[in-house]
């Protein structure tokens, strides 16, 4: 289960709405106790995809490195990545799956006509061939 606290959730939704009609991305930091994850900080990142950003996102590894350093400074863990699907549902697409990392939770926010609609969290398997839906609270 992954629970996003109100402050980071507001950050994530605001980022996803302000970048519409493009996809946004960011990192979630917090704590992990067995399978219970609590997101305490959301860090907005720049979408580094060089092509059409309304249907793709890319996290710069250097930005993820900085986020990991920030997490260590705060005594937190990197829990996962969030990104948005403008005018699409919050499924985990083939492109999402093939370019994911099996180590993290992936929250997808569906933004419909510029406004947050719904979200889901996904856990890719080791081979990145399937993603299981993870219970999400926000």
């Amino acid at each position: 289960m992954i629970r996003v606290q109100p402050e980071p959730w507001a950050t994530m939704v605001a980022h996803a709405q302000s970048t519409y009609p493009n996809e946004c991305c960011g990192v979630m930091l917090g704590s992990i106790d067995d399978d219970n994850k609590v997101v305490e900080v959301a860090m907005n990142l720049e979408n580094a995809y060089a092509g059409p950003q309304n249907e793709h996102y890319e996290v710069r590894p250097e930005d993820l490195l900085m986020a990991d350093r920030e997490a260590r400074k705060l005594g937190m863990d990197v829990i996962g990545i969030f990104h948005s699907h403008p005018d699409c549902d919050a499924y985990f697409s083939k492109t999402d799956l093939e370019n994911s990392c099996p180590w993290y939770s992936f929250i997808v926010l569906s933004i419909q006509k510029g406004t947050f609609h719904h979200a889901n969290s996904w856990l890719p398997n080791e081979e990145r061939t399937l993603a299981a839906q993870e219970p999400l609270e926000y």
């Binding site: 793709h56 890319e58 993820l64 490195l65 990991d68 994911s100 180590w103």
Partner: protein, 92 residues
Amino acid sequence: MAKILIPTPLRQYAEKNNSVDIAASTVGEALASLTTQFPDLRKNLYNDEGKLRSFVNVYVNDEDIRYLQKDATAIADGDTISIVPSIAGGRC
């Protein structure tokens, strides 16, 4: 000694250490030593051909080793090695 930072989800395979100090002269030696010490890390970092998995990037301090000498990149006392995944996606 160089320090290898272990990403959160991989700490379960490294006796819950968030970093491991390694005596080595190159990145390749350091990672080999790490995965010898913690064999369960190997399948998370390497594919069946013994190469780093496609989404795994390795940094020495702030530099991606792909733009240095890859596995042969020299490391010195006090250097920090980070393991950082590539992540991207898209709605279609």
